[in-house]
Symmetry: C2
Subunit: 200 residues, 2 copies
């Protein structure tokens, strides 16, 4: 009885249980035995699919991180057509799609490596698009990179907080806020907010 185990299923089962555990405790305290016990496999089986607990985490991260192609597609519009609205839209779609995982990976027990990889990839794909098109000088090219960094950091930070707070704000509002901040600057947005409240 019990049908033949399928490798892909086994691997996925292991990942699923690993993830469940990872959500509740830092990775350095997770043992292989803990995972395989939960998943109902022999400890040795884990090593068939992963070299390491950290390797398992990487497998999950890889499944989230969009492939180069998909990423490129997603980013093409960003600074080219200057349609920032759509750029933000796509970013949020991405975040919505993998929200639960991203929340953990970017949270207190998350993986800094993953954050770096995301940023690195965005930079790699974003920079050539505009800097080549507009022939920025050296200094401005650097500044541009820092602006990209700021934007990613800011977006990731905001959405992570938003998720960790159980989406306490309608998506539209958050969208608008981020959009406004990128358009007008946080200072300006803050000022308007205060004035709006003064007049009520």
């Amino acid at each position: 009885m019990g049908r033949r185990p399928v490798p892909e299923e086994t691997k996925q089962t292991l990942l699923d249980h690993f993830w469940k555990i990872y959500c509740e405790k830092p990775i350095e305290k997770i043992t292989v035995r803990e995972i395989t016990d939960a998943a109902g496999f022999n400890r040795g089986t884990f090593y068939v699919y992963f070299t390491d607990v950290y390797n398992a985490l990487q497998a999950i991260e890889d499944s989230i991180l969009p492939g180069e192609e998909q990423f490129e597609e997603m980013i093409k519009d960003h600074h080219k057509g200057l349609d920032r609205h759509q750029s933000l839209e796509e970013f949020m779609d991405f975040y919505e799609q993998h929200g639960e995982k991203l929340q953990v990976l970017l949270g207190p027990n998350g993986d800094p490596t993953f954050v770096s990889r995301i940023k690195e990839r965005v930079r790699r794909l974003l920079i050539p698009h505009s800097s080549e098109l507009h022939k920025l000088n050296e200094k401005d090219r650097m500044k541009f990179e820092y602006m990209v960094e700021a934007e990613i950091s800011s977006r990731l930070g905001i959405f992570t907080l938003w998720f960790s707070r159980g989406k306490d704000l309608p998506l539209e509002d958050l969208h608008q806020l981020v959009y406004d901040m990128e358009q007008k600057g946080s200072h300006q947005v803050g000022q308007e907010m205060l004035h709006r409240n003064d007049f009520r």
Copy 2:
């Protein structure tokens, strides 16, 4: 021969060598023996001062993270007097002071816990200051928190990148860039940059 060991010195020596190792490899691969061997102490001595490798890291983090009082002082001006220039100045002083450490702690092999602690603390101290003063409504109060999050994330991201690139830009330029972005929004700043380059 050899003068009497002083506890504080020993502790610091251990921390120093731990840090040197931590800069070069992820913490999960650092053993107690590795640290004590490098520092020239017995392995047991480590456990006199720390419970754990992670505990040692925490000790370093605590020495960096400003105390509540100092932090409060540093932040008081931020959204109160609305003197953003000075606020940014203070932030950068803090970053300059602990630059090498922050670069590692916020980098790929860094500690997500530490990032959370910083953000949490800034939020805790920043929110009451303005939201009480200006009686924001519930929704705006939340938005305000997200704006704070965005600003911290953005600043930390930028400065970490800046450090990891060996400060490839004069501090003044970076300062100006961040200031501009917070005032006018990254989009606006980017636009101006492009136009400036068109006319040359």
